[in-house]
Subunit: 352 residues, 2 copies
DNA sequence: TTGAAAAGTGTGTACGTACACAAAATTAAA
DNA sequence: TTTAATTTTGTGTACGTACACACTTTTCAA
């Protein structure tokens, strides 16, 4: 551990004053070519790295971050993302971060549009964190943010036709392939269940997962098209009837996946039907899904790292506003964890 | 985000000087009961939290940490632990940490004893990080450290009869159960392979994993005792002969696990034997194992989070020496990740 | 050649904590 | 009661960076 050189020492090395070194580091301009070269050489030689602690002490600015994500439900996916936000905010509690939360209902485009318009009204806005569900509204928002020069980062899913500064997601195509691996299905008897969505198109994540699963099946010589069924995400009674009807009509089904986080609805229905012979692979480490995994009605959960997404988003922005000058684009693809009943106890909601 | 109160503000609230507040926070003594109560009340009310940045600026001490772990092999388990150390040291590069590495050969007790005795000779030793392999030498070391009042933390495995300040491990019993889940073996045809160890007893981690697997089998109605085979960990030619002989003598074997990180040796042998019908579940995200997973000769890897262990160990110590006064014992059981060929690309060596 | 204006450079203070030291208050001893 | 010893409390400076401001040098038009 070599001792870190200070700005003062760099200044001495380059034969200038600390102020000049500071101007070069933050390129505040007004420095002659001659000294710039000398200082940059010294900086290089000493391997100078700004002392984050001291830097934080002197830095007085308030960073305003607006965040627009689907509303969190206790124990649900977005509450884990929020847990990640909170962890990061706690860690950076010495930095003055103004946090403007503008959640929306992920099943209601209007609510999303309204949240997005509030984002644009936030005063002194420095950056935006977006957990996108709807494509067009998000594209519009991003275009406006681009023209205002305000950086934005995506968590959970990325929207095409936008220019985010950073993206924190999981590879959904891989998720789909892992479904295939875990189901270990035979030629026929596979079904893909999904929740119905009013108005809007299917979520991009779920489309990409399905593509991954189908690719896996093709690679493993399964040519029979999986059976499909849609069920309600809001009306549980209706959902149970729809799912029940589907399984009665297709008694050969033995391998099932639900490509979003509502797998527990299917699990509970299958349990009521006494169908313990069905292997069910679902998504996300939510409270309901964990319960079903515990009970044995879900075989396995494929989990993203929502807390890591939230944590990293803030970490990135703080780092950007704090230490870096220029834009440093970054896409972080987080691991996909496979959780069985057995290793469930060692995962926590805040898994990062 | 409520503004953090500073020591100065706390002092004002309690009607004392900042120095008094400081003495109370660090219990440097010499404070009257009357003011202690007043200040503690103010501290409580304001929810005071020391500003880590400023704290780091004023704190000038050098922390000396000795670390004794098995020597890292490029791409191996302990190199990931070291990656975690390095990440943490980089993150805390503003803090003056003196880092004394004293690695030993994990297959040689003498080398371990020698490393441990060097630990005790380190000047101004503040804390020790131990990656233990041998029980008795470690117990002896810990007893001495206890009497010297020097804190130590364990990574990877904990040793009984010691009093570590913190422990960063995975639950090996769960690991074993997950092996059972992934193998999905039938009544007979299961084998447990292990590397031979000269002189010393089997590693505690591997014993605990076996126990977990056997418990899983019992719970799932498999009563046939698994077949066993030991092979050399140093002489690959010998190992391949031993493994080959075992499979020729036991042609019914279809499900195999290797309870330490040397699974790739078995995988490569099986590949040469053309036995693609054997499902092999191995441990640890090492370069060799990743290659076999990629090639398909390993079905699945059960991975601990060595980088997280290393990172957390240093994080804990820095936190302790930096912010906390008293001892705060902590056992962190890290998640166990299941890696298939499909989700391999989204895990990195530095997975935390 | 002169003298603004502009460009370049140095100085000094603030940030909040840690800690040394000086000052004040209290206690104990004579 | 007085004085010394002791305990308690306040003050001031350092840490390394950020940034405002003052000062010096250069540039360039008149």
């Amino acid at each position: 551990m070599a001792k870190q050189a200070s700005i003062k020492e760099i200044a001495q090395m380059a034969g200038v004053s600390p102020g000049t070194v500071d101007r070069i580091i933050h390129n505040r301009g007004k420095v002659s070519e001659k000294r710039r070269i000398a200082v940059e050489k010294a900086l290089e030689e000493a391997g100078y790295k700004t002392n984050i602690h001291t830097s934080a002490v002197s830095y007085r600015k308030t960073i305003t971050i607006a965040v627009s994500c689907p509303m969190a439900i206790e124990g649900g996916y977005w509450s884990s993302v929020e847990k990640g936000f909170q962890d990061a905010l706690d860690e950076f509690s010495d930095i003055d971060i103004r946090w403007v939360a503008l959640p929306y209902d992920q099943f209601d485009v209007d609510s999303c549009n309204s949240a997005y318009s509030k984002v644009l009204e936030v005063e002194n806005l420095d950056a935006v964190i977006i957990g996108a569900t709807f494509e067009e509204p998000t594209q519009e928002l991003c275009t406006k943010l681009d023209s205002m020069g305000i950086p934005y980062v995506f968590v959970d899913s990325s929207i095409k036709g936008t220019a985010p500064w950073a993206v924190f997601v999981s590879d959904q195509h891989i998720c789909g392939q892992v479904v295939g691996r875990l189901l270990d299905a035979e030629e026929s008897g596979l079904a893909i269940l999904a929740t119905r969505r009013r108005g809007s198109k299917r979520a991009t994540n779920s489309i990409e997962r399905e593509r991954g699963l189908l690719d896996f099946l093709k690679d493993h010589g399964i040519t029979t098209e999986p059976k499909r069924c849609q069920f309600s995400s809001t009306d549980i009674t209706l959902a149970e009837r729809e799912i029940g009807d589907f399984f009665r009509e297709n008694p050969e089904i033995r391998w099932v996946t639900v490509l979003n986080s509502r797998g527990y609805i299917v699990a509970d229905t299958l349990k009521k039907l006494g169908r313990s012979d069905v292997r069910l692979v679902c998504f996300d480490f939510t409270a309901d899904n964990r319960r079903c995994l515990e009970e044995g009605s879900i075989y396995s959960l494929i989990c993203q790292r929502p807390a890591a997404q939230g944590y990293n988003a803030i970490h990135y922005l703080v780092e950007h506003f704090f230490y870096k000058v220029g834009r440093k684009e970054k896409t972080t693809t987080l691991p996909i964890d496979v959780v069985f009943k057995e290793n469930l106890p060692c995962y926590r909601e805040s898994n990062r």
